[in-house]
């Protein structure tokens, strides 16, 4: 059974190499959003968020309650953020068409999952996994088939958010105390925001977040995480 792909494992390992701190790293194809109408409409895709507890041995256990709570807190933080911007944020409806393999919106989400992970792997961690064809450029794209989604929602951009957050279990804390911190890390927050132009399919902006202290289980923490992820998004 597939649970966590090799990619995730590598990404988590790489994240642990980074010192305990909060940092973001963004890539952009544009300096400002293209205004085709009076205001820019951004379609917020379903949040890909998962919270887990970090066990003594360093593996994680998913926590459904935390995840559900964090999604709700993040969503309300994004809505508040949206009201402070010129652009309007629309929300994606999970409808019956989502169970059809031919629904373009579903395939676009799957495609973005792959592309987003590739950017994380080969751009954010390019020191280790650089691709020769992506050297010094940021030109990832989902292709023009995303127009179907744009037309369905009458939107200009689609915004994808991905967050994986873990918190030390009692066992992990004990292990760190016994080893005087030798086991190094506590829980980690890794995430990205990705903005896709629904006319061209290009990933026009991508922001990576790594934080040792972020905590989306509280309202304050969720607001801070959303701010870290989306604060620098082109307007």
């Amino acid at each position: 059974m597939r649970r966590i792909g090799l990619r995730y494992i590598i990404l988590y390992c790489l994240a642990f190499v980074v010192a305990a701190c909060s940092n973001t790293k963004d890539f952009s194809q544009i300096s400002a959003l293209e205004k085709r109408w009076d205001s820019v409409k951004i379609l917020l895709m379903p949040l890909d968020v998962e919270l887990s507890s970090l066990q003594a041995a360093g593996h994680t256990e998913p926590n459904a309650e935390w995840t559900t709570e964090a999604k709700a807190l993040m969503l309300s933080a994004i809505r508040n953020l949206g009201s402070n911007r010129d652009s309007a944020i629309l929300e994606y409806n999970i409808t019956q068409s989502d169970v059809s393999p031919t629904a373009p919106s579903v395939q676009i989400q799957k495609l973005h999952r792959s592309v987003g992970q590739s950017i994380l792997m080969h751009k954010v961690y390019e020191a280790t996994y650089e691709l020769p064809t992506k050297k010094g450029v940021f030109d990832w794209s989902l292709g023009p088939s995303v127009q179907a989604l744009g037309q369905e929602y009458n939107a200009d951009y689609a915004l994808f958010l991905f967050v994986r957050d873990s918190y030390s279990s009692a066992g992990r804390v004990a292990f760190n105390i016994v080893t005087l911190g030798w086991a190094n890390q506590g829980g980690q927050q890794i995430g990205f925001a990705s903005l896709v132009d629904l006319h061209t399919g290009n990933v026009v902006w991508f922001n990576f977040l790594h934080d040792s202290y972020g905590d989306v289980r509280s309202e304050k923490g969720a607001v801070a995480t959303v701010e870290n992820l989306l604060g620098e998004m082109p307007k």
Binding site: A57, H59, P62, A64, T68, V99, P101, T179
Partner: protein
């Protein structure tokens, strides 16, 4: 080992001497806990680890639901759902069965009730009773919460080992720490093997309970053993990491259960009578996918078993021809030609047999015969998607 297991162990020794084997296995099946661990319609408590695992798996299921690997055949899906209800009418609404177009022998059970049946398995099961064995086995994994148990066991073992490894490292025994970790890995996988045994027993229990002959269960594994024996690339089987019991062990256990349940080997099953109709609809696709794997030895075996069924002989002969034409080793062209010729004596032969014959004739330099065969193909299938290609073959000559 507790006293009870010790006694059981000794009983099996006695059985090996040829006495009481039947009784022992009957006891084994009775003694195993083969009932659901929860009520129908169960959902885990939202604060539990189990709920976390379900949430992850629900995400997987959303992807599966919208995958084009799911075989788009409502009759097949309804049939599989109906079979699950025949196995357990109380719990069957907790299962969702997805037939997947993946040409490998496998079925998988996810902890939230999603079950996948792969097309490579549909190709290999010879009758409904065999299919029921597999469905029952997978249901067993769900009812006995095997994923969760495996996860918890792996998690506890991993947690335990990080402390054990630490102690040994501090004591200057770093190498021993490694050995302890390896032993731990063994524990994790052996737990899984135990789950597989339990699921095998569960499968036999419910399929025989629904009136299917349990002697069909070991036959699946017998065929798999035969396939492994002829395979060019032997399946990697590391005794340490293998997550399943060996096929030979499974056959032995399953035959024991069948014997203990009092079925005679040739007793008929209480079939729905739908198997050939529903699965048969996909037969040519299943065979074609298998052929594309280029596992010629295994495919040869599978097609020869199909010949024994004495149905759809034209189609089977055609695919035997395809097998040898694709393999193209010494004597294979003649073999292929023989099978195509044989196929054309039946009425259920795909029109493509003429095209295949044409290609063979062309290879052998017999243009007149090739032309005849190609023309026959286009006469029979004027709307063929490769019509232009075939016309160019004819024109070139």
């Amino acid at each position: 080992m507790n006293r009870r297991h010790f006694v059981a162990g000794c009983t099996i020794c006695a059985a090996m001497a040829g006495f009481g084997r039947q009784m022992t296995l009957a006891n084994t099946l009775d003694r195993m806990k083969l009932t659901a661990e929860f009520a129908p319609g169960y959902r885990p408590d939202s604060s539990s680890l189990e709920a976390g695992i379900w949430q992850q798996v629900e995400d997987v299921e959303r992807n599966v639901k919208t995958s084009h690997l799911v075989m788009a055949d409502d009759d097949l899906r309804l049939y599989l759902a109906d079979l699950v209800c025949r196995l357990d009418s109380e719990y069957c609404r907790d299962f969702r069965v997805y037939p997947m177009r993946i040409p490998l022998f496998n079925a998988t059970m996810y902890p939230n009730g999603m079950m996948q049946v792969w097309s490579g398995l549909l190709l290999r099961v010879a009758n409904e009773a065999q299919l029921m064995t597999v469905l029952g086995h997978e249901m067993g994994h769900y009812m006995r919460r095997h994923t969760l148990k495996h996860y918890e066991s792996a998690s506890n073992t991993a947690n335990f080992l990080s402390f054990v490894g630490l102690g040994l490292a501090v004591g200057g025994l770093g190498e021993l720490a490694q050995a302890a970790q390896l032993a731990g890995m063994g524990l994790i996988f052996s737990h899984s093997r135990q789950n597989e045994r339990e699921a095998d027993a569960y499968g036999v229990k419910v399929m025989s309970g629904a009136g299917y002959n349990p002697w069909q269960a070991p036959k699946i594994w017998r065929r798999l053993i035969a396939e492994n024996e002829v395979a060019k690339h032997k399946r990697f089987r590391d005794p340490f990491y293998a997550s399943h019991p060996s096929e030979a062990e499974r056959v032995k256990n399953l035959e024991g259960y069948a014997q203990s349940l009092g079925f005679s080997e040739h007793q008929t099953s209480n079939d729905t009578g739908e198997f050939q109709k529903i699965i048969g609809k996909h037969r040519s696709m299943l065979i074609e996918d298998q052929l594309k794997l280029r596992q010629y030895n295994q495919t040869e075996l599978i097609l020869n078993w199909m010949m024994e069924e004495q149905t759809r002989l034209g189609e089977t002969q055609y695919y035997l021809g395809e097998l040898y034409r694709m393999r193209d080793e010494a004597g294979d062209q003649q073999r292929a030609q023989g099978h195509y010729a044989n196929a054309l004596q039946h009425t259920d032969t795909p029109f493509e047999a003429h095209r295949a014959l044409g290609i063979l004739h062309l290879k052998q330099g017999d243009k007149a015969k090739a032309n005849d065969a190609f023309q026959r193909y286009l006469q029979l299938k004027p709307e063929a998607s490769d019509r232009e290609m075939i016309l160019s073959y004819i024109g070139d000559q």
